[in-house]
């Protein structure tokens, strides 16, 4: 499965990447929202994990871009405490699930499995 991770925190990015690779997924990494949008336009991902707050474009803008391009891909949003309102916006734009930081990478893997029925 091809998974895009958009996250500007290097430790979270690398940890999630290693967990997913260990699970046998192919992973594409981006550290900013604009780059994530470009990659979404170029490739067809099976799942996207995105942070809300990122440089150049937010997770919300990524969700808008997915909707604009008519792509049907499950998206898991990572948000921080106090971003509840943004999470509501994310669901309105088609997010499939969300996790609040601090989060458990193991739980993220379980949610990915549930979303992709693997």
């Amino acid at each position: 499965m091809l998974i895009l991770i958009a996250e500007d925190d290097e430790l979270i990015l690398r940890t999630v990447e290693h967990k997913l690779v260990k699970e046998g997924h192919e992973v594409v990494l981006t550290r900013n929202g604009q780059e994530a949008i470009e990659k979404i336009e170029e490739s067809d991902f099976d799942l996207i994990v995105t942070d809300i707050m990122m440089p150049f474009a937010s997770g919300i803008e990524i969700l808008s871009a997915i909707k604009r391009h008519g792509k049907k891909v499950p998206v898991i949003v990572l948000s921080s405490m106090g971003q509840e309102e943004v999470v509501v916006d994310a669901f309105d734009l088609g997010a499939s699930d969300f996790m609040v930081k601090p989060f458990s990478p193991n739980e993220l893997i379980l949610r990915i499995k549930r979303l992709t029925n693997r």
């Binding site: 925190d9 290097e10 430790l11 979270i12 690398r14 940890t15 290693h18 967990k19 260990k22 405490m81 930081k101 601090p102 989060f103 458990s104 990478p105 193991n106 739980e107």
Partner: protein, 356 residues
């Protein structure tokens, strides 16, 4: 001739001395810049090494002996250990569950506890606060007595961090300090403490009542926020009594709390006390009526719209009437011949707000 020769000689000597001094200054500046660059560079490289180690521990990757040796070598550097501790605490805020446990394990495996204890016993406030933060983040319960003693420290950075640590360790019980706390509890600190309390024990009534009676206004405000967060209905009468409190900020919070745990008497009580309240509290009452959306307040709002001397109250009263489906009434008022211009503008503004 001889005199000129001496002067010239001294002048040349002086120029040489100045040049040497300038050269020394340049060397010092260059040396310092290089040193700063090295520190920055080291910090960046070290941070990458540390984050890789943390990631490896969380993910449970196969051990690489070469990297382990390299890591152990760095661990002998005191500044590397301090950075390791800093990054570890920061990482602890990003993960939960097994990942957080793995981070805690690193803290103990590499004996970083010693660094945190050392910081706690330093003199400088920022170092002590850092030590408290690190010991609390890594859940070192043995540090509780020493951190508790810091609650009485005079320096804000220290006692604030100690308060937060006590609540992180003990939850609600960590709020004991409120009973004798006489300094202002900042809004930010109140929010931090509130976010760390996840439940209130059943036998907390006596304590909460005593905080509501505190002579420290910020403690009363914090308690009201706590009551709001956990919807503690039993305190409603005590909160109503706070509408006579000397501090306006306390009264404003009391109104918000009454609204959050409202009962069938709340709107009536708001209406009864309205005239005795300062303008800030009156505005808060109207905001609470907007949230409550109770038809019981309709006549009262019409009265305020037509007769209150303050424009801000009239504006808010009109806005609440719009929320209560009083748009038709407002349009009728604005079309009356004897309605003055200011009121027409207020009504137009309120109706416009609704459209937006």
């Amino acid at each position: 001739m001889n005199f000129h020769h001496i002067v010239l000689h001294e002048l040349i000597l002086a120029i040489i001395v100045v040049l040497i001094l300038v050269l020394l200054l340049i060397i010092t500046v260059l040396g310092y810049s290089f040193y700063s660059y090295r520190i920055l560079h080291n910090r960046h490289t070290w941070k990458q090494i540390i984050e890789y180690k943390i990631m490896e521990t969380i993910v449970g990757s196969d051990r690489n002996d070469e990297q382990d040796r390299e890591f152990s070598k760095h661990l002998k550097e005191p500044s590397f250990r301090l950075l390791f501790l800093e990054v570890l605490v920061d990482s602890g805020r990003k993960f939960s569950g097994a990942a957080k446990k793995a981070i805690n394990r690193l803290f103990y495996d590499f004996k970083l506890e010693d660094e945190a204890w050392r910081k706690l016993r330093q003199r400088k406030a920022y170092l002590v606060a850092g030590g408290i933060q690190e010991l609390a983040a890594m859940n070192v319960e043995a540090a509780i007595p020493e951190i508790k003693a810091k609650l009485d420290d005079d320096r804000a950075a220290v006692y604030q961090e100690a308060q937060y640590a006590m609540v992180s360790f003990q939850g609600y019980e960590g709020l004991e300090f409120l009973a004798h706390f006489d300094k202002p509890l900042s809004d930010w600190q109140q929010l931090r403490l509130l976010s760390s309390i996840h439940h209130i024990p059943e036998l907390s009534d006596v304590q909460v009542y005593s905080w509501l009676k505190s002579s420290n206004d910020s403690v009363v405000i914090f308690t009201l926020r706590l009551i709001r967060k956990f919807r503690l209905m039993t305190f409603y009468p005590a909160i109503y009594a706070l509408l006579d409190h000397l501090a306006t900020a306390v009264r404003v919070q009391a109104i918000r709390t009454m609204q959050a745990i409202e009962n069938s008497a709340t709107i009536g009580q708001f209406i009864t006390c309205f005239d005795q309240q300062p303008i800030e509290v009156q505005l808060e009452i109207l905001k609470s009526m907007k949230l409550a959306r109770s038809k019981e307040s309709e006549e009262f709002l019409k009265e305020q719209l037509l007769n209150h001397p303050k424009v801000s109250i009239k504006i808010l009263a009109a806005e609440v009437l719009v929320v209560l489906d009083g748009g038709q009434y407002l349009r009728e008022i604005s079309q009356k011949e004897d309605t003055y211009d200011e009121l027409i503008q207020i009504i137009k503004h309120a109706l416009q707000e609704k459209k937006c």
